[in-house]
Amino acid sequence: MTKSELIQRIAELNPHLYHRDVERIVTTVFEEISAALARGDRVELRGFGAFSVKQRAARVGRNPRTGAAVQVAEKHIPFFKTGKLLRERMNENS
């Protein structure tokens, strides 16, 4: 499923809404999550999952081809942990 298919689906479930508004709703949800992560905040959506940002320390890496040491700066990685309900639903009939 792509973002446009998701928008299409929400639009079908809500025929009273303008397609343009459904687009804004879906975009706003992911924009809010992105903005929260960019502030370093955590986003917790019970049953679905939680997004957080993990910090990776600066380190000395190595160019695998030349063996030269290179400085790798500190970086931040977005991380998602699946919620309990979704995890269980994905494994219901296995």
Partner: protein
């Protein structure tokens, strides 16, 4: 700046501010977005949200695990797990925002 936790209520509020539907309907729509994504994943579909990231379902085979407390061997059954890969757009946004604020 202490990190806070953003919840459904914050997402609903943002939709309410942005689109101008009632607070109740905004909350229902946020729920509906999460439900549609969940349903697709439960069906085993991949969900790709451009400029945000993608969720993929991965099948894990059975393996032998160990209870870390007792050392006892226990089988870990085959299962499906969800992996999220953030898009480059999101990764870059987070890194440029957070490295700037840290110094």
């Amino acid at each position: 700046m202490a990190a806070r936790t953003v919840t459904r209520a914050d997402l609903s509020e943002a939709v309410y501010q942005e689109v101008g539907l009632s607070r109740n309907e905004s909350a229902d729509l946020v729920e509906s977005v999460l439900n549609e994504i969940s349903d697709a994943l439960v069906r085993g579909e991949m969900v790709k949200l451009s400029s945000f990231g993608s969720f993929a379902v991965r099948q894990k085979g059975e393996r032998v695990g160990r209870n870390p407390k007792t050392g006892e061997e226990v089988p870990i059954l085959p299962r499906r797990v969800l992996v999220f890969r953030a898009s480059h757009v999101l990764k870059n946004r987070i890194n440029s925002a957070l490295s700037r604020s840290n110094g």
